[in-house]
């Protein structure tokens, strides 16, 4: 159903002599040099692949080029160089009309400030993409109502955007994006404008929806916690470049450079990490044979600590089929709590003679 999204060496340069600037960037010039010439390199050599059904989070501070990158994915901005491929099509090769057709059917977008049309009712807003597609009124209203219901807004169809709270407005934005049945959902800091509690609700709802809808989602955020929560894969951007792509654990545990590391410093690991990230996959196969409590790869680190405290032996991690996928010895829990990145160093004189395997 969903299709793979590929970005290949994407460049976006604003200002004069863009192609020349790209060439210079390829040869290793940096952003500051170009800025002196009056050109701004917003995105430099961005390549990544988003697998169908994945949530790909692009994280970075403001000005890092993440929004520009997102807009190149649906052709709102034309890349200065590079290619975007989606569903077998090279979007960068398409003409304006074809590109619009792709945008109206295959890619939809959710905006930071909701971008609801104030002159349209909630239902008309949700039905907007369908209206652009040319879906007859009756059908598009039905589908819009379904999308609204999916987002928990049943009964609000006749209201007007300005009568809704921020969270509800963004649900309308989400419903509008979902109503078109697009495979690719681009979310531009969609939850950043919401207050923390609501943001969390929305994140939960998105994850819940994703379980059933299995869309391919590119999610932009500047909030690492949000990135960790949502992202199957996370790209960290800095000054227009993607400095690291990896899972939440990769980012957290194996930062590509000091910048990423400093970024992850303040992250509450116990909230972000799960048993799956911590567990030792070198298993013997019988660790779950006892009747003790077990964890799943998704078990948050906090719970894992509690489990580990209650058990005398390492916690067994079982997948949905209740197959053993890994174990978490208590030492490992302590390691991660300590600094998260380093493995335990064996003691010169172990007192209990237990050998700790390396991860």
């Amino acid at each position: 159903m969903s299709s793979r999204l590929e970005a290949e060496h994407l460049y976006k340069v604003f200002g004069r002599r863009q192609n020349e600037a790209v060439e210079r960037l390829r040869q290793g010039a940096d952003r500051e040099e170009l800025r002196a010439d009056g050109t701004t390199a917003a995105v430099i050599d961005a390549s990544f692949t988003v697998e169908p059904g994945q949530i790909f989070v692009v994280m970075g501070l403001s000005g890092s080029g993440k929004s520009t990158l997102l807009r190149m994915l649906n052709g709102l901005l034309e890349p200065t160089a590079g290619h975007v491929r989606f569903d077998g099509q090279d979007l960068t090769e398409l003409g304006a009309a074809d590109l619009r057709a792709v945008r109206s059917r295959k890619i939809s977008m959710v905006f930071q400030h909701f971008a609801l049309f104030p002159h349209r009712s909630v239902r008309e807003n949700a039905a907007y993409g369908l209206e652009v597609q040319g879906v007859p009124r009756a059908e598009r209203e039905k589908r819009a109502d379904e999308a609204l219901a999916l987002c928990g807004l049943a009964g609000w169809e006749k209201s007007w955007p300005d009568e809704l709270s921020g969270g509800m407005q963004q649900r309308v934005g989400l419903a509008r994006a979902l109503a078109t049945d697009a495979d690719l959902l681009l979310m531009d800091e969609s939850f950043s404008a919401l207050d923390p509690l609501i943001r969390r609700d929305m994140q939960d709802q998105l994850l819940e929806l994703q379980k059933t809808l299995k869309k391919t989602i590119v999610f932009i955020t500047h909030d690492l916690n949000e990135a960790m929560r949502l992202g199957d894969s996370i790209a960290v951007m800095r000054d227009g470049r993607i400095v690291q792509i990896g899972s939440a654990e990769d980012i957290l545990m194996r930062p590509a450079d000091d910048y990423v590391a400093s970024f992850t410093q303040d992250v509450d690991r116990s909230r972000v990490l799960t048993a799956g990230a911590v567990m030792d996959t070198a298993v013997r196969g019988d660790e779950a044979d006892c009747g003790c409590e077990t964890a799943t790869p998704g078990t948050p680190f906090v719970e894992l600590c509690a489990l580990s405290a209650r058990l005398t032996h390492p916690v067994a991690v079982l997948d949905e089929q209740r197959e053993l996928v890994g174990v978490v010895p208590r030492q490992r829990v302590l390691d991660f709590l300590a600094d998260g990145a380093s493995d335990a160093v064996p003691c010169d004189a172990p007192r209990d003679g237990q050998v700790i395997a390396h991860a």
């Binding site: 709102l76 619009r100 939809s108 977008m109 905006f111 971008a115 907007y128």
Partner: protein
Amino acid sequence: MPRVPFGDWINSAVDWLTNHMAWLFDLCKTVFQGTYDGIDTVLQAPQPLLLAGIFAVIAFWLRGTSAGVLAFLGFAFIDSLGLWENAMVTLSLVLVATIIALVISVPVGIWAARSSRVSGVVRPVLDFMQTLPAMIYLIPAILFFGTGAPAGIVATLIFALAPGVRMTELGIRQVDKELVEAAEAFGTTPRNTLLRVQLPLALPTVMAGVNQVIMLGLSMAAIAGMVGTGGLGGDVNEAIGQLDVGLGSEAGIAIVILAIYLDRMTSALGTQVSPLGRRAAARLRAAQGLKIWSYRPRPAVAVIGVVVLALVAGGMGVFGGGATTATADDANNVGQGKRISIGYIPWDEGVASTFLWKEILEQRGYKVDAKQLDAGALYTSLARGDIDFETDSWLPVTHEQYWKKYGNQLDDLGSWYGPTSLELSVPSYMKGIDSLEDLKGKADLFGGKITGIESSAGEMALLKSKVLKEYGLDKEYKVVDSSTPAMLAELKRAYAKKKPVVVTLWSPHWAYNDFDLKKLKDPKGAWGKGDGVHTLSRKGFAKDNPVVGTWLKDFRLEEKQLTSLEAEINKAGKGKQQEAVRVWLAKNPGLVDKLAPVQQTAATPAEAKRPVNVAWFPWDEDVAVTYLWKNVLERRGYKLNLKQMDVGPVYTGLAGGDLDLNFDAWLPYAQKNYWDKSKAHLKDLGTWYQPTSLEVAVPSYVKDVKSLEDLKGKAKTFGGRIIGIEPGTGEMTLLKDKVLPGYGLDKEYKVVDGSTPAMLAELKRAYAKKKPVAVVLWSPHWAYSEYQLTKLKDDKKLFGEGNTIRTISSSAFPKRYPQLTEWIKNFTMSEKELGSLEAEIKKRGHGHEKDAVAAWLEEHPDMVERMTPQ
């Protein structure tokens, strides 16, 4: 610093445009005129109150009950002011201008909103259009589009365009970028983004722009009245020209009512058409609850109401509008419905003569259109041929500039009234300032400023280039360019506070009527001689319309006639000029036939069989006129026997019937004795040449002052002042240099330089209070019919004789020569014509009079037709 000939460039550009782009302008003109005519017809057709009802229903629908009621009251008020027709003209003008402005400005605004480059180009152009004084493009507008609605529409359009473009651009640019991005992100086409997102959201702002367009259009429509668009603008213009605050306020109020109505309706419409506005209004209504005053019918109800009223109106228009215009009977239907367009400047004599001719020509079967215009506009349209003729050109001095510029594109049909004068005037409370010379060294008193009129006026040019220099005042005084209304307002203001002020004026002017002013004497004669009021026509008008041409060439009004006509028109009030003319014509039976004789016979009349015995005196003018008539009449088949005689024998011969005609009767003074002796057997066939009589006049309630000599020792009574007119006029010069010293009054009296209007105003003021006043006047002047005045006798004849040159005949002549009598009665000659003819005769020498006349007639080809129209 080299002079950049910017003005020349513009002139040549305008010339080029007029020559090469005429098709484009004509196309625009057709479109504008067509749209305007359409809307105007629709608005003028229904009964005023019915249309007011329709407007009220629209207001009821858009804004509720109270708005509906108020709208009806407002429009009914306009109707009751008698301004309905003009209000609808203005409304049509504004609507057309608004529609066209929107058709242009909204797309341009959209374009500018989408392209910063376009915006960058458009913005300075808009600034330019909005700040360039309207008058500057009013004139080219006339050049391109002629006078009337199209020029007014263009001027209004240019002025009103800017807010439309600006607000559209602003509105679209204001739309949240994220919303536009959202629309694009869902694959909306640019067109649909505009239509579905940007325009609906920009609509309130765009509607505010529309509102501004209408408001500016309305304010401009008043100014456009100067180019003959008529309507309320014309009324305002006229009121300003006449300083008629009453009429001005009425027209102003009507404009305000229109403005408020249009403003409220468009802003309500803005709410109605914009989805956001509709929602806001609905919410407000829900909060307030339903009240009778804010109740609004549903659109369907409103539409039904409007349609029903419109149907009733339309039905009445179809069935009620019978033919009401009087049609000329067959014999007099010379015009056969031919259209003639007359332009006039809203000056008293212009209005009077224009409406007189309008009435006469209509009686003669022409369809006449009288347009009120600004002087510049008048000449431009005349030169363009948009207007056939006008009757109010002050030549050779005042309108010299125009004549120089357009003279070769115009025909001068001769002067019908004269002379007039130009002058500087001060209020008569300005003691000690009676002549231009008195201004010297008094710059402080007047703030160094002479309040002028339109800098385009001939008088201003003369003042600046000649008059001030001649009196050495050019260093001391600054002539403030302004406008006639502004000058009059300034005068009024200063006058009310008794502050010193010196203004540029001319005579005749009603200001002399309203204020107590003195015309500054012009002992050096710098202002030159007075003008004659000329009739000018477009080139070839007389050829195209030989009959009317002849009538106009023969047109001449006496003082009494003009003043009584003006008085009648003033009495009737604005908008009833033509009725006044009818009333006046009824009091002057036969005048129509005299001014516009209908030719009964052609070729040689029967009367021509008998030779005409003409007696003449060996005086220059008589030689000239006699030989002229001989030449002309012989062309018409008459035979003239010329007999040179002395005065006495001529009167005797005429009385006895031996002689038929004499062209040189100086009456009523010079040949008074002869005339009185035999007048029972003589007929006066009227004046053909008329020098003016000049005099000092006092109100007749000033007893004991009957002659100039009586003024002696009465300086106290008159405050030592004689209220003069424009300094520099012949009369003022004469008065100061010759008359006053001649009577020994120069020590005692000061002649207050001023202007004719100021003098008349002073006279009016004094007259109202029955205060003694002595004013400089001349005959003919309407003041004599307005007030009981005593022309002070000039026993020493220092002002010169006050005769006119008449044609007299034997008592049997008119019956025997009806055709000839008619011709002679209509015959006039201007000073210039007579002078040139005399010069020609003198040049050729004695015995060659015939040749001289023939040569002169070559140069005056219209003369024969003028003298003896067929």
